[in-house]
Symmetry: C2
Subunit: 425 residues, 2 copies
Amino acid sequence: MNFIEGFSKFNKTQKINWLLDNMKVDQGTTLIETKYIDDALQKRFENFSENTIANFHLPFGIAPNFLINDKVYSIPMVTEESSVVAASCKAAKFWNEHGGFKAYTKSMTKVGHVYFTFDLSSEIIEKVFKDNIERLLNCTRAISLNMDKRGGGIKSLELLPLDKLSNTYKLELRVNTCDAMGANFINSLLEAMSAEFRKIVIENHFENHFEIIFAILSNYTPECLVEASVALNLNQINEIDGMSAQHFFSKFKKAVDIAKFDKFRATTHNKGIMNGVDSVVIATGNDFRATEAAAHSFACKDGIYKSLSEAEIVDHFFTFKLSLPLALGTVGGLTNLHPLASLSLDMLGKPSASELMQIAASVGLAQNFSAIRSLITTGIQKGHMKMHLLNILDQLGASVSQIEDAKKHFSDKVVSFQAVRDFLN
Amino acid sequence: MNFIEGFSKFNKTQKINWLLDNMKVDQGTTLIETKYIDDALQKRFENFSENTIANFHLPFGIAPNFLINDKVYSIPMVTEESSVVAASCKAAKFWNEHGGFKAYTKSMTKVGHVYFTFDLSSEIIEKVFKDNIERLLNCTRAISLNMDKRGGGIKSLELLPLDKLSNTYKLELRVNTCDAMGANFINSLLEAMSAEFRKIVIENHFENHFEIIFAILSNYTPECLVEASVALNLNQINEIDGMSAQHFFSKFKKAVDIAKFDKFRATTHNKGIMNGVDSVVIATGNDFRATEAAAHSFACKDGIYKSLSEAEIVDHFFTFKLSLPLALGTVGGLTNLHPLASLSLDMLGKPSASELMQIAASVGLAQNFSAIRSLITTGIQKGHMKMHLLNILDQLGASVSQIEDAKKHFSDKVVSFQAVRDFLN
């Protein structure tokens, strides 16, 4: 590649042409092969981000028959990973016969901060803050007017020192953003408050001892928390996957406990949960980096990184539950701008943010249940390998009869690209 | 929604029709509006996952002019978040004038485990393991033959007790998977080894004291680690964004330090890094849930969750670096199956997995640099709001002249859907 000046000013065709010229690989057709038929929609889509040259596509699938809080959902899922949608469907089917998923939103508070330094005694800045707290709150009234009307807005404002960093403080703003994810809203509040706080400090003649470092929302949202759970009476099941209910669920609990105490397993265990959660997050136009950061950061809230879900067996009752910080929106952002995100929300019956949190957490728990179920019985590869084999066969241009032969041949063998190619030759 | 039997057996059209009938919302056109012109490609794509009814699309953008290890890259990025590509471009431009990004791969070892319980003394199982380690390694020879030829394969096999869970152990397998992400490979090795280990235990008559719980790779990859860094001499810069170099970079360091000591900030700081990393991960057909889990789990390796990047100023030298566990592949999986992933890899000059790790980490560091630069100068909203305003105007169907008026009006005001609608009316 070469350096290029003014690339962002090129139109889309110029960008593509420059790339292809510089790559010396002719992939032009592939590049432009998927796009909206409707030009206006295509243009809107391209404006989501910068320098867009194509529509990168991921499979948009459906997991029907999810019973959550006694309501049936068909769940939109976007994932490129094979077996994820199938695993969700399988878990949904199993739990339908045992009352389905129960989920509730524990809290919906989000948080943001203005970080600053102050090198005189903390009592001074505490007094300045205390004397001006109403002014700080008032300066954001215009911004939060509409959110206030919808029952949201600022819940609290505090001044806190940063324990381990001397002369450093934060204003901590706690906010309810109703059905919006609210990142822009919170950041706007914080930047307004930051500017006002600076004015106040200058008016109090402390400007030489003070500096605003920055103002920003936090993606760590332990107070925007949802819990999803399933439960059953072991006595009501004879066997599952050829094991007694007692044996299956004891082994299941052991598998979850391992993820509580072993970081190597905990990471993958939670990754599996997020396979489910993120597929709903993306399908509904939400930001998966935010949900990922919150989930994994929450997973180490006690100083060791551990599983987000827990299993218990008490008096023949098995319960399996997931607590997850999940800051989602069902209005604003891309939720209305992306036509498939909008379709996803329609498919879910236009849920509130709280309801969407419950749905996503339930899918995360479903995913976790199916993964562990496979792991402790057939092993994870059986489900994965079926699709893996079909993908490889497709890529190698296998005929219908070759595909059938290969399916039989590999039913008890390890699938790899090389092995499949060898088999076909 | 209603329950539906046999949904997975429906063809795509039947699935879509059932959905639309049950949603009572007519969105059929939107649903099928983007797809491949080539039917075979479309069919292959739909087979990545289950119950696929549409191609969910995200913007595929380009960040040109990235200088990494003295080589110029145009970086493919898939992200729905506005400002991410622009921020990467801005950071690339700044660092081009200061030697660009330096990145190196510290190690490329991945890890997987067979977890099991054993309720006799640990010496017994340790002896069984020790006596049979060659047999355990040999049982996987057929699976790892091709990987061995390419210089990869098994690096070590150990038996370890789980400290906090009594009678519970793991076989820890350390593997080099060359340019493959290697999940299928590692899981296949582990399942073969797990079956063989079970046989061995039975042959030793300990089967009543032993149970395999499961075998699975770990997404926690602290030994598959890459470091990216930038550095400059403060004396070579007069000013940046209206601040002296000394002031700017001291404030920058302070901002990074806050993310070292404050979990609320660390989560968002790392989220910003992953905005960049994941955009490359997705564009190249890799699994972002895996990279997210590894990154955030690594962020709390010392018992507190903290920033993945670090800034230092020593003797007028500023350095900013990012250490990240990053298990990526450039062969296998979707890297060849997804035409745009394949294009991305061509665009990057068909990199090795190690080179791709260096590229993705550099983009993560670039993203982090630009985000902090905005935060400590203009604030984060200025960049975000520009695109946010354009999206809202587009959605409200604003005319060209209305768009120009709105841009002027909102240049110093907070953008919200309501505010823009009010302005237009």
